[in-house]
Symmetry: C2
Subunit: 192 residues, 2 copies
């Protein structure tokens, strides 16, 4: 297999595991096993664990903005404002299908004290903010509200709250209210 394909494969594996157990809590060995390669090869290919995480972060942000740009392209300024917002919400929820993507993002957002990763995370968050504000023409209040909902979803994902969806009616209410669309994806993601 070519290095480039292997690289993409390892990034996907890393995203999945980083999403589960965070940057510090994940070992390069876990990632290697997930990707079906040896631990030293993972390090060799990316230089350091830190650089691998940065690659995952970059991938996640690229996918996120890609999805959002698609929504914008499909819309083409014709429809109503509320409908557009709803479709951004749906696009976000759909990203839950890509294992570890939003979870890795969220973990990155809590690494602000790390000089390298922290800076990358702030820049990435701002890129999303800038997109919604300028390209999608949200007002500052609209962006804030949209991002807040997103962070609540990410938090629910992080707590694995969906694991208790059936056993606790309060959890059911919480998730049904917090999510803009149906909850199946989150439950899937939570249990994967």
């Amino acid at each position: 297999m070519k290095a480039e394909d292997r690289r993409a494969l390892i990034i996907d594996a890393a995203m999945a595991v980083f999403g589960d157990t965070g940057y510090v809590g994940t070992t390069t060995d876990q990632i290697a096993r997930e990707a079906g390669v040896s631990q030293p090869y993972v390090v060799r290919m990316f230089g350091t664990k830190e650089k691998l995480f940065l690659a995952v972060l970059d991938r996640a942000l690229t996918r996120l903005l890609e999805s959002f740009r698609e929504v914008l392209a499909d819309d083409a300024g014709g429809g109503e404002r509320d409908e557009l917002h709803r479709r951004f919400g749906t696009a976000y929820i759909d990203l839950l299908r890509e294992r570890g993507l939003l979870a890795s993002l969220m973990h990155a957002f809590l690494l602000g004290t790390d000089p390298i990763i922290g800076k990358a995370a702030r820049c990435g968050f701002l890129d999303v903010y800038r997109f919604l504000r300028t390209e999608a023409d949200f007002t500052a209040e609209e962006v804030s509200e949209f991002l807040a909902g997103g962070m609540l979803i990410n938090t629910m994902l992080g707590t694995r709250m969906a694991d208790d969806y059936d056993s606790d009616p309060l959890v059911r209410e919480l998730l049904d209210t917090a999510l803009p669309t149906k909850v199946e994806h989150l439950i899937e993601a939570g249990r994967a």
Copy 2:
């Protein structure tokens, strides 16, 4: 010094450091230095690092609900609904003064895959949800919106976004919009 006082002191120190670098990213030695004691003593007093983190989590949740109950007590059902919500928001922002409290909470919320800490985090989150829903009489939608705003604040805290408050006008707009009241506390907290 008595063990009980030392215990409280170490919990405070641990909250500060865990808030900065998370559960896995924090060493018991860092906590010990912050508390001005030896590393083995920290472990000795709490048994394990995990139990120490659980103590910090418990402390944070207790303080949070304490603050909220005060708001409710002061209000006594007299004022308007919106005003009460605003005061809950202010109470939340005030907790940013207690170093590492909200940040440690947020880190706990991303540890859902940990069998022990994850369960505690889910229960804690639900306790807050239950309080707002039943004691404070929020509707499910009101709770969801309130929590979403809180999670956005926590995320901004985690990214240390406030460090760029002066240098980037977009950051300024983001923080000014995302925070229900004035931003000074967060900036303080972000730079402490």
